[in-house]
Symmetry: C2
Subunit: 348 residues, 2 copies
């Protein structure tokens, strides 16, 4: 199958659900007092986003229930035990968590822009941004209590949501820590990526399974599907930073190596004995030349580091799709496989 | 009963439980990787604190179960429905939430000191402090899922914990907003205080009742006990700021009026037509004189504003104690009443 056809199917699946997800976000996280706080909290959610994680949640529910995509009401979705579950609330909860992490990450990294608009701490102020993030955090937990699932399943979903948030914090702390270390092992880097990025995909895929009362092996398979594809996604991001032209990337190509940010690629290259610190002379993305980047990429290619990253992402993607074999063979499952492929084949 | 005897009983009750609570915090929030993150997250909890909220939780459990104080194991406490509940985990969870709010509040207010040690963002850095707070936030939710209570009660406790956190954020945002407004009504101020401070006392008292399977009227009574006494506590804080000598207060007496911070007292005085903005000429706590403060306090006394605050705190305290009439008459209930009294009679 061509990656264009995969991308088309994924974007269609996401597009078909985006309006539903956006409406649900508005319902489950309505404007409230104090107004400025809730405006700031809702600001990034209003600014856009593909809604990839909510789509994963909704498709996971459909794959488990073995129903045709978009045929059942996400707000009263048929559980395995004949109760009805608001899987949309779970999807919203995870998107709200994602938004909270973006707001706080942007403060920590002092990033000015997010989704093409000023970051929340720039559009408002740092105090409001901290508080807006904190509000989204608790709102996500509030929303997750309202799925109508059986209490033991609801509580188990809360447990996964909470431990996922803890792991995201740990991942962010590791990321900061690794910035000042050059002897990080590729395995440690992958562990950081898992904490920082992949666990939220894992939770997005597994929480609907928990809420619907699916068997433990289904919950675990979906969780690992999310972990594997989330890791692949992040590694592919590192590859794209080096291989996609700046104009398509929307930022200077090779910014990671200019800014001495360690990735799976540079860590592998170090293991091959390459002097990664000497790859580019320029010290800022403003002064680096395209020739410098070309040369650096060629040297990373020579020691096999870019292929290593590509291969790792590819293997993780294949593994993530195999995880889904426990699910019934249906259209929703196929779309989850397409999403895994899309995460590593997307051009930028 | 004298307030000295009350204080003695409260400090004894708190003291008898502090080591248990501290040991439980260490168990439920152990050191983990990345080390620096968990050191920062545990730093304020290690720096001290009375453990008043956990004590409220533990006493509430004992009052409901009608057992002698300290006679039952807090880790496997007898519930109404014969299951066993880890009420200590709930107490720890609430203390962890309290610690998270202090860390983020100190960043927002750029306060240097907390509990006699540098604030977390000073001892570490702002990025680490944001992340340490975020980690405590999710850890509190994780801990609350592990009480062993019946799932429907566990889920209900999570619901109250989440909505409590949302309200704390709303209260903090209102507090910031009110700093730039002079036409805040006393009722609005009390509403802010309820959100910012009192809801955590409400949750500390009510969550054990939820977990133990107590009747709804008991849950509600304990929640309102916490709300009323928490509001009284905050109002008393405002009175103490004006009436306790600086050396006992540990900071400049009257700092609220010097820094133009609105309190129930100033808002009441404004309603009486007093020009609150002209109460002191000095614009910083470094330059203000004791005579200026004396004079300002006298003028606030003249219009009855300090008495109004004292009376409001007193009425709320009486109301909070009456709420407990639904509980069996026992020593733990008496101690909860003592705590309500202590919150408004403590000298500083």
């Amino acid at each position: 199958m061509s990656s264009e056809a995969t991308e088309e199917r994924v974007l269609a699946a996401v597009g078909e659900r985006r309006e539903l997800v956006n409406a649900a976000i508005d319902e489950d996280l309505p404007m409230a007092e104090p107004e400025r706080l809730y405006e700031a909290a809702r600001y990034l959610l209003k600014a856009g986003g593909k809604r990839l994680r909510p789509t994963v949640s909704l498709l996971a529910a459909e794959a488990i229930a073995d129903v045709a995509p978009l045929s059942a009401d996400y707000r009263s979705f048929p559980a395995v035990d004949d109760t009805e579950v608001d899987v949309m609330a779970a999807a919203v909860s995870l998107e709200v968590i994602q938004s909270f992490t973006l707001i706080h990450d942007d403060i920590m990294d002092d990033d000015d822009l997010r989704r093409g608009v000023p970051a929340v701490h720039k559009a408002y102020d740092t105090e409001t941004a901290i508080l807006a993030g904190d509000t989204l955090y608790s709102k996500a937990f509030e929303i997750m209590t309202e799925t109508g699932a059986r209490p033991e399943h609801g509580l188990e979903a809360m447990r996964m949501l909470a431990s996922t948030c803890t792991q995201i914090c740990e991942g962010q702390a590791l990321d900061v820590q690794f910035e000042s270390e050059t002897d990080v092992l590729p395995e440690e880097y992958l562990d950081m990526v898992e904490h920082k990025t992949a666990v939220l995909y894992g939770a997005a895929a597994a929480i609907p399974a928990i809420l619907l009362g699916a068997d433990d092996d289904v919950v675990e398979a979906l969780y690992n599907y999310g972990i594997d594809s989330g890791r692949a996604f992040q590694i592919q991001d590192d590859v794209l930073d080096l291989t996609v032209p700046s104009d398509k990337l929307g930022k200077q190509r090779g910014s990671d190596i200019v800014e001495n940010k360690e990735t799976l690629i540079t860590l592998h290259a170090r293991q091959q004995g390459l002097d990664v610190d000497a790859l580019v002379d320029s010290e800022s993305v403003e002064t680096v030349t395209e020739a410098e980047i070309e040369d650096a990429v060629a040297r990373l290619e020579d020691v096999g580091s870019i292929d290593y990253a590509r291969q790792t992402a590819h293997d993780l993607t294949e593994q993530s799709k195999e995880r889904l074999d426990v699910l019934p063979d249906n259209e929703a499952r196929d779309l989850l496989c397409d999403i895994a492929d899309y995460l590593v084949t997307r051009g930028y």
